[in-house]
Symmetry: D2
Subunit: 343 residues, 4 copies
């Protein structure tokens, strides 16, 4: 049986089938009308085979090169570990295959520059992944700001709280970049999206809840203060000990009003007992941003099929990383750091 | 030391210094600039003396007649038990002393008629007490409805929940009128205030949480359905087992929108623990309506001093009672009862 | 390419591809791992063909008999108009094909009896559709009640509000059953699910917002009071003029607490402007219950595949209808109606 | 007529009858059972006389010395402009009259030292005013933290938003200390109350909404990052353009949970119109903290009458000011400032 006539589907190859990769596989295979998942690749061959079987995917590889070279693959979605992004992006660019790359782009600006050079040289379509921009809440807030509902936004505030700490292996700044990169990059991307470029950043942080984090050189809490290029202000606070649930809140304070995005209630049930009114919380990021992930991939496919420009470009990945690295440096040095000085 | 020149104060005599009477004493003596509390009366002479001492009141009586006859008393506030209202109101009317009477006016329409006759005959100023109308929330909702914010209100819904049951002695319908009178009269007054006269009412009820209530002939839960004179609809539900807190909610559903009054959070503190977000509740009626009680007495004093008409008249007390009695009768008979048939 | 080995999928034939039918098609074809959509049928042949093309369905029919007789079809999902349910259910039962039927089962108890007889005679698996029971909120509330969180529930309250009126054609009680059946059946099913059988019901209603409704004999607002078989109480209020949004709220008041299900905010955005804090609302039923519909069909497939009993049986469809019909009769007669007297 | 036998009242002299002073006069004269307002003083003699007349106060002065020397005055409450605090506190200390002083204690640490020396030398009772600590919300949050509800608090967050800017005359840092002192001192006091001493602070700020503020050298927005002495973290953000209402929120993020204090809804009315749910906001600080002001003065009187230690001492006023001055200095210099270096 063939695809319905008249509907064009983008034949996607997916690189990386870890926790998030499996969600992407499901979306590409079954939830996004504009895509067909035609290949998966993972260095864990068994995982690739398993996911392929689950979603009727014709090809499973243990090599990214094989997937990129598969003539049936029209576009690449990269959700493999960050340290692999550089090679895959460059290879996909050389084969001129439209690419979506999950955040963060890389852990060093040097790698970013190489990727940027390859993508620009080849002129390949490249879309950067920052799923919050596709969350219906964030999208609605952006529209309200653009519509002038709050006048001119002058202060940006964003809070990200994880309900439990990652493993020490994951938290290790050598692979995660540390809390200000790993968690903060989402908030720094939002900062740029809502307010524009960041001029300087200062930060404080510490190991306050999970002493083991000190052994790998990461922190479990951090606060970064932002001065934007035009003098407006921002603040981002991050924690690994959200405890009560996954809680992401962003607020734009404007000259005529304020808009806030975020919620912490998962199930619409309120329980009232003696002098107590209670509800549950959002367990973790997938419960909060599932729709955003789906919409993001759908947007990628639509852009490629319609030859539209990507709404989030490689440079957005670079600049969000630059702010995060500046914050990390500011936290170590105890001084404000000009973002442009980080290279 | 004398009262400030230029400020006229209404010299009030207070009848009844039980739980609510003591709140009225405090308000009349210290919180309402337009009043001076010059006498208190209670059949419990010790209580009268104690309250007089607490608030520097020059006269304390154990007889309502003495208080009404005190030439220093310009106006009467009645908050004694319901079965005493008839005699006191008639006596005050005969002395032509402006009177405020706490709800319910009486427990029988026969008594109401006698009071009404006395008040009309003498032409004395009489203000009925229904404090919810003076709550800032209810007042704001009334204004929104009058301003047309919700179009034409077509359905009236009101819920009253007590956090714990009264004593059996109190609950006894012989003195309280039963749940549909004792609790419901507030909601029935709101129904008339927001929507106009009630044509018919039906009701169901039962002893569902506190089996002892059956021994005195009262119920602990009841629901009354209302058809207004013009065909619009209403529903009132009452419970003695609110358990979690004191919860009063009223909603007007209109052709262009809905307005809802009510809250159950007392302290502005939210506590978030593992998968749980919680806050406290409103303990009881005084925490919810303290300001309304004060504003109501202040309004009474201002009306008397300025010779303005009372916003709530004796007839409002009669008609709210008539609806409540119709509901009680409907609950017993299992049929809808025309309010006008209750005499 | 074949289905993944090891995963059994139920091959489903879908009858009816109207508004809701198309959602079911999408779910059966792409969102439910346990199903495969192998046939669709609709008297509108073009619609059937279109849906089949959209979801790669091998067979499209304009006759329900053809679909039921298709040997590739293992199970039937019925979402065609209510008046067609009787014939399709009986036919599917005679072919012994497991059947899911969307609510309401029928508009008359006579039809219900015929369907019940056919299903019982054949012993065919039959699952009744009441999607609210599969909503994560309602499911969580049910669990809390069963876990004793609120003690014994003694009062059931449920509110259903549509944001705009249906067409007069749709509203016509001849096809919809009228507001107490069409809207109320969901609430009456919840009443039975949470509290058990209903003994009697009374109701009031009227044409208050949309005068045209009178021309077809329907009402736009109604309130039904319920006495359960064991004396506990309930109230259901329904409106076509929710205006602000789609709002479904159910509350169980218990001897130890209260649980409430419902929400009216769609996007997690709060906008604060001069003396105003505002958010949006839930547009309509699909935004509110999309997940519940999917979970319900998935549950059906799992039950058939695992030979488990259905959680909602044909009798649930009959009894919810009987309560709704009793309410409609009570509203016309102005008296309380014993549910068992409605046949 | 005499005060009730058995009740001791503290005879208070009030210095300053501006906006806040008049509220204090009302509270001392009528709302606090433990006090009697026996004298008022203000350089504006007419205002003093007017307030005295309003509340039956026997003495009105245009000189603070006269009030302090009045033998009828047992205790002093200071709510005059900040620059007058030094002289009045020293004079009251020399006369050994128990003193309550509204925040901020002074605008320079030099003045603070002189006041501290005078108070310590004389051993006079001195209570510092920070009303938020007496707000039922903040008090409940403090208790929850002390009870271990959130484990160990590790991050302190506090937001203060004024709904409109003060006059330029008021905002002038020469008299107000600037936004980080004038607004921030409340948050810095809360920081010390909940978390202990502050080691260092950095800050950013700007003129973002009201360009005129630049003409007097103040900012309209500022954000301060705090490192406490034990390494824990904090952040305070302040704005003059709250616009939507007066909004004060404080949050303690702990190792086992989070507690948040604050609300922005004034009237318990929710209005639902087409796709919009809205409520009002808290107009300004008096609506938010009226009860806290009253409780604070009552606490002062009870402490003096019962010879209890003050819960907030002069040093609290000094140290909150020191943090605020450190923040202001950090904002000017762009570097982190050690609080102990500010003298």
């Amino acid at each position: 049986m063939s695809a319905p006539s008249g509907r064009r589907r983008l034949k996607v190859g997916l690189i990386g089938v870890g926790r998030l990769g499996r969600v992407y596989a499901r979306d590409l295979a079954s939830r996004i009308p504009e895509t067909r998942l035609v290949a998966v690749a993972d260095t864990n061959a068994a995982a690739a085979t398993e996911v392929a079987a689950e979603w009727d995917v014709p090809a499973a590889y243990d090599s990214t090169t094989q997937l990129i070279d598969d003539p049936n693959v029209d576009a690449i979605v990269i959700v493999s570990p960050t340290h692999t992004h550089r090679d895959v992006v460059i290879e996909a660019a050389e084969r001129r295959k439209p690419t979506f790359c999950e955040k963060p782009l890389a852990l060093s600006l040097g790698e970013c520059r190489e990727m940027q050079a390859a993508v620009e040289r080849s002129g390949t379509f490249f879309q950067m992944g920052f799923m919050r921009r596709f969350d219906p809440g964030y999208a609605a807030a952006k529209k309200q700001v653009e519509d002038g509902r709050i006048g001119r936004p002058v202060v940006f505030k964003s809070t990200s709280r994880d309900p439990f700490p990652p493993s020490l292996e994951y938290a290790n700044p050598a692979s995660s970049g540390g809390i200000l990169v790993d968690m903060g990059i989402h908030d720094f991307d939002l900062a740029r999206w809502f307010m524009g470029e960041v001029a300087s950043v200062s930060a404080i942080g510490g190991v306050l809840a999970y002493p083991d984090f000190a052994t790998v050189g990461d922190m479990d809490n951090a606060i970064a203060s932002i001065v934007f290029a035009d003098g407006r202000l921002g603040v981002v606070d991050l924690t690994r000990n959200g405890i009560y649930g996954y809680d992401i809140v962003t607020e734009l304070l404007g000259t005529e009003g304020t808009v806030r995005v975020g919620y912490i209630q998962e199930t619409p049930v309120t329980t009232m007992t003696r002098n107590n009114v209670a509800h549950d919380t959002v367990p973790y990021f997938m419960e909060r941003f599932e729709r955003a992930y789906t919409r993001q991939l759908q947007n990628f496919a639509q852009n490629v099929l319609s030859e539209r420009e990507p709404p989030i470009v490689l440079r957005d990945g670079v600049e969000a990383l630059r702010v995060a690295l500046a914050a990390a440096q500011a936290c170590r040095s105890g001084t404000s750091v000009r973002v442009s000085s980080v290279a």
